[in-house]
Amino acid sequence: DVKVTQSSRYLVKRTGEKVFLECVQDMDHENMFWYRQDPGLGLRLIYFSYDVKMKEKGDIPEGYSVSREKKERFSLILESASTNQTSMYLCASSFRANYGYTFGSGTRLTVV
């Protein structure tokens, strides 16, 4: 069964910590995406990548960076976590345009 795996379901971090959220897909998909989901705001795109070592900013990239050293892995990095980054983070991948997404189960991050 093909899937997208996010390393943690729940995570609690302190303000100022560096946080790594990992996402791995086993479908050989070209494109990978990071979203955050907040009540009343829906899913907002943080960063996406359409190839290894390639990345593009989404709608809300401030405070985040990403890394894609291998095709199957896309990491989201919070350089210095802040309380306003408390959210549900969803990773997704897709084969190419017009093929829809497969989502991971999400990581609920709380920054205290």
């Binding site: 997208v4 829906g42 795109l45 996406f48 989404g58 969803l90 017009n98 997404y101």
Partner: protein
């Protein structure tokens, strides 16, 4: 600015009722519209729509797209408690050569037994 608006924001119905969820959009270079169902965790794919007027069906769920009026509807007939979820609409946009999906805020559906 690209945007996707879903209505209603939330809905409470009884088992057996029929519901209609709405999704309207304004995006650059529309490619496709997708519907997802999200329960406790990852959104799961329901439909992808690319052409106007062609209904997609899966069991009690159906969806149709109107590219002239820029909206889509998702219908659920004979609702069951298992239909309780957040329903997300996403539109694929190609603003500058690299595609991306823009999501609405979702409609939270609760079906009472």
């Amino acid at each position: 600015e690209d945007k996707v608006v879903q209505s209603p924001l939330s809905l409470v119905v009884h088992e057996g009722d029929t519901v209609t969820l709405n999704c309207s959009y304004e995006v650059t270079n529309f490619r496709s519209l997708l519907w997802y169902k999200q329960e406790k965790k990852a959104p799961t794919f329901l439909f992808m729509l690319t052409s106007s007027g062609i209904e997609k069906k899966s069991g009690r769920l159906s969806s149709i797209l109107d590219k002239k009026e820029l909206f889509s509807i998702l219908n659920i007939t004979a609702t069951q408690t298992g239909d309780s979820a957040v329903y997300l609409c996403a539109v694929e946009s190609l603003p500058s050569g690299t595609y991306k999906y823009i999501f609405g805020t979702g409609t939270r559906l609760k079906v009472l037994a």
